[in-house]
């Protein structure tokens, strides 16, 4: 710590440009801000654009074995009190189609999000990407609004164990588990995933919610229930990152309502090695990546940090 302090003191004196590079276990990224799963994630051209705009990595939509159309509209809307509720229903072109689409990719760190209900599905899907540059796989164990997959999987320790082990035996690419607030304790899901060899944790997914239109007196989403995202869930997500990093020595990717550099820094201080943006893209569009990178850099200069690593978990020391 004292060395670190001395180092940051020095670096602030000799004005070393702070570096935004970060590592999530063996995953190396030039920037710590990535696109969360489910957002804009279906076109390689868009991935390139996001990367140019400052995203350190893009997480794809959660891919299933077969193409899924998802739910009928309305599937997304903003809550009057802030944030968004969505029940897109994991619409996606299916892993094989998607793999073909990203095969030409050379530059963009792509994290492939996968969803399924049995280990074999995950195994098959990963095989479909053997000719692709995949930075990591993120297992979506926490979608709050699709039956048989998502939280129903994350809430079943035995299944989590089987899926994670199978995936780890199928690929040498790092594997991340995305957890959320389900019907069991998410910290148990985290422990189970870690025991089964997971490389990192993304916390958290959207939180099961609902909104009713009082004029027409019906739930707004065609699926009735959806996942709450955006500023409303930030304090909940931050608490989860802090709880996980206090209990486990595992790299964490913070996700949930991060909409500016200050939010991002909160997650680093709580123990996250990187963060993901979702709703913020809907609120502030693609420039938000560059703005948050810039804000983090200015904060690091002010506090005399030269690397993201120095910031991670600092709030736990207080």
């Amino acid at each position: 710590m004292t060395n670190q302090l001395l180092y940051s003191k020095l670096s602030s004196l000799i004005k070393v440009e702070p570096s935004l590079a970060t590592s999530i276990g063996t995953i190396q990224l030039d920037r710590p801000v990535m696109l969360a799963s489910g957002i804009l994630g279906i076109s390689l051209d868009v991935f390139n654009r996001l990367y140019r705009s400052g995203a350190g990595a893009v997480v794809t939509k959660s891919l299933s074995k077969e193409p899924w159309e998802g739910y009928p509209n309305p599937t997304i809307f903003s809550v009057k009190g802030g944030g968004w509720i969505n029940a897109v229903g994991l619409s996606n072109p299916g892993a094989p189609n998607f793999a073909k689409m990203i095969e030409p990719n050379k530059d963009v760190p792509i994290i492939v999000s996968l969803v399924g209900s049995i280990p074999e599905e995950f195994e098959m899907m990963i095989k479909a990407f053997e000719n692709c540059k995949v930075t990591a796989y993120e297992l979506n164990l926490s979608c709050p609004h699709v039956a048989k997959v998502g939280l129903e999987v994350g809430d079943d320790p035995e299944l989590v164990k089987k899926i994670v082990s199978t995936v780890k035996n199928t690929t040498n690419t790092p594997v991340i588990a995305k957890v959320g607030l389900g019907t069991t304790h998410y910290l148990n899901t985290v422990s189970t995933a870690i025991d089964a060899g997971i490389d990192a944790i993304t916390a958290i997914n959207t939180v099961r919610s609902m909104a009713i239109d009082v004029e027409t007196q019906r739930p707004i989403l065609s699926n009735k229930f959806g996942g709450l995202s955006g500023t409303p869930i930030k304090p909940i997500a931050l608490r989860c990152v802090y709880e996980i990093s206090s209990k486990h020595d595992i790299p964490i990717i913070g996700c949930g309502g991060i909409s500016n550099w200050e939010d991002a820094v909160e997650f680093f201080l709580a123990g996250a090695s990187a963060i993901q943006l979702g709703s913020a893209v809907g609120d502030n569009w693609i420039d938000v990546f560059g703005e948050i990178n810039q804000g983090i850099k200015q904060y690091m200069e002010k506090k005399g940090y030269s690397t993201i690593k120095e910031m991670i978990g600092v709030a736990k020391k207080s």
């Binding site: 489910g38 009928p72 309305p74 599937t75 997304i76 903003s78 809550v79 897109v88 019906r218 707004i220």
Partner: protein
Amino acid sequence: MLQRNHNHPTIVTIEKVIDQTPTVRTLVFSDEVMPNVLPGQFAMVWIPGVNELPMSVMISNESGKAAFTVRKHGPASTGLFNVKVGEQIGIRGPYGNSFDLKEGKLLLVGGGTGLVPMMRLLTFVKPTDDVTVLIGAKTKDEVFFEDLANSLLENNSHKVIVSTDDGSYGEKGFVTDLVEKLVNDTKFDGVYTCGPEKMMYKTVQSAHSRGIFVQASLERMMKCGVGICGSCCVGEDLVCRDGTVFDGDHLSKNKEFGYFHRNKAGILENY
């Protein structure tokens, strides 16, 4: 009423339904926001219990009112088509950018409900502009907004030309052939188009290849309307957020425009 969140459905009541053709209707409603949107902007329209879809916002001759002009094809548009006077729908938005209206000689090319942003654009032309409006349709029954276009342009030097593929009304042939002929004869200051993608594609080619400023308002399947779901991406562009209006120069570099759109699963499909 409580404060409006433009990303949350606001409920409005349909006050009038106008049949434009056997398959196209205009539904009129009162609202504070929608009457003042810009040409090219759209709303996400919720038909409670049915679906939600993006709709260009149609003008109304009554102040404080706006409308949606819908052709029934899929379940969503058919659901909207069937909404009766007194029934309620939800609207989010407005979303998207708008046309960059030049001055002088203007050419507007619309097909089907693609005429909606064209009609709103006409409310922004200056009396000094010389405006030509092309209305393309398959057959006589499907022609609408011809009289409206003429009345909106009564103070302008203008032409409103209808072409039907089968020649049952107006000129015979594809509207895009007419475009090719017109841009060949006249140096327009601006060309604006909305309608079937192939029609827009050819219109953009005809104008852009001759160095004429041209813009098209694209249509795609949409879920969010705000740049989250990605359904409406065309290459690296998101129609909902970067569009709906794009310059011909930009479109001519886009490999998907005119050829591909994405289905609900996000898979590219040919037009």
